[in-house]
Symmetry: C2
Subunit: 162 residues, 2 copies
DNA sequence: TGATAATTTGGGATTACACCAAATTATTCT
DNA sequence: AGAATAATTTGGTGTAATCCCAAATTATCA
């Protein structure tokens, strides 16, 4: 999706904080995996760790990490590791929330936790932030997701836009 | 997904009919669009018609049609047009059902018909047939979808497998 | 039949993703 | 410290899914 060396986000200042504006469709499926993984690890993450978890060659990881850094989601110190930028954190928070909301949704329709999780992992990258926000609202901003707690901290609801 | 020149399906004989076994993940997003379009047009469809609807160059359509024919979904008479094979019909029926079930689902969570349709179009290719069947069962096999009637004719439910 | 329209072919590009081999840098151990 | 080892990055490649353009082919219509 974003091969561009740089990606620009417009930030919206609100309640004393800056929120990036995004559609939720900025990252390719695999990049979503990387960012979610790094987010959940917290702190600095090494290439090897990511490689073995995502089951790809370290060289693949290295290149992807570099792309995510160029797009502004990560700080990358070569040979040392990566960690999330502020944008990366905000974005990853959305990614995790999206994954959990969608997984929770699917468990309400006869899928087991694992099935829902697997299924959602396959397509989540293509579900917009607007849709996620609407679903989230409609479900009453649930706190318990099937793959962990759902954070609504930086969750924008439509009300805020207008 | 399927670059293989040929795709093989195992057919399950049941109730005097043959049902192909498939995961629902056989076709790439764009191929799903092509098949759904051809299905909904019914009969023989010409390259130009598809091109203008899917907004792509006729040469792109021509090539994709050829791939779908090689994979067994279409009969393609060069310079004349395409129509669905039996496999193509059965598969397209699933594709349309999947689209409608998922769209209907999303309209229950605060998305308008158009929003749901757009959203689902983006990711439907990655939702498995098993998941669709479970969701469908769980919703009580609804007949009215947001983008038309939902057919359950060749809809396999888990009960049938065991 | 000859012009025009539709279709296909051949060539080429891009993006996303992956691997291998070789080079580079960090770490560890003696 | 200095060498061996491990981790990481780079460079080179490959595939699948899309797309477009230009040229060739086939159909259609007047």
């Amino acid at each position: 999706m974003a091969n561009n060396k740089y990606q620009f986000f417009i930030f919206l200042y609100m309640n004393g904080q800056n929120y990036p504006e995004f559609t939720g469709l900025e990252l390719s499926p695999r990049k979503v995996d990387y960012l979610k993984f790094i987010f959940e690890k917290r702190g600095t993450v090494k290439t090897t760790e990511i490689s073995s978890c995502l089951q790809v060659d370290p060289s693949t990881t290295s290149k992807t990490l570099n792309e995510l850094a160029n797009a502004g989601y990560l700080n990358h110190v070569p040979y040392r590791g990566v960690d999330l930028t502020e944008l990366g954190k905000a974005y990853a928070e959305f990614l995790v929330r999206r994954h959990r909301i969608l997984s929770l949704l699917f468990t309400h329709y006869g899928l087991s936790t694992e099935e829902a999780c697997t299924e959602v992992s396959r397509f989540e990258a293509f579900v917009s932030r607007d849709a996620v926000n609407k679903i989230c609202s409609s479900m009453g901003h649930p706190l318990i997701g099937v793959c962990g707690e759902i954070s609504h901290e930086k969750c924008f609801h439509e009300e805020h836009y207008h």
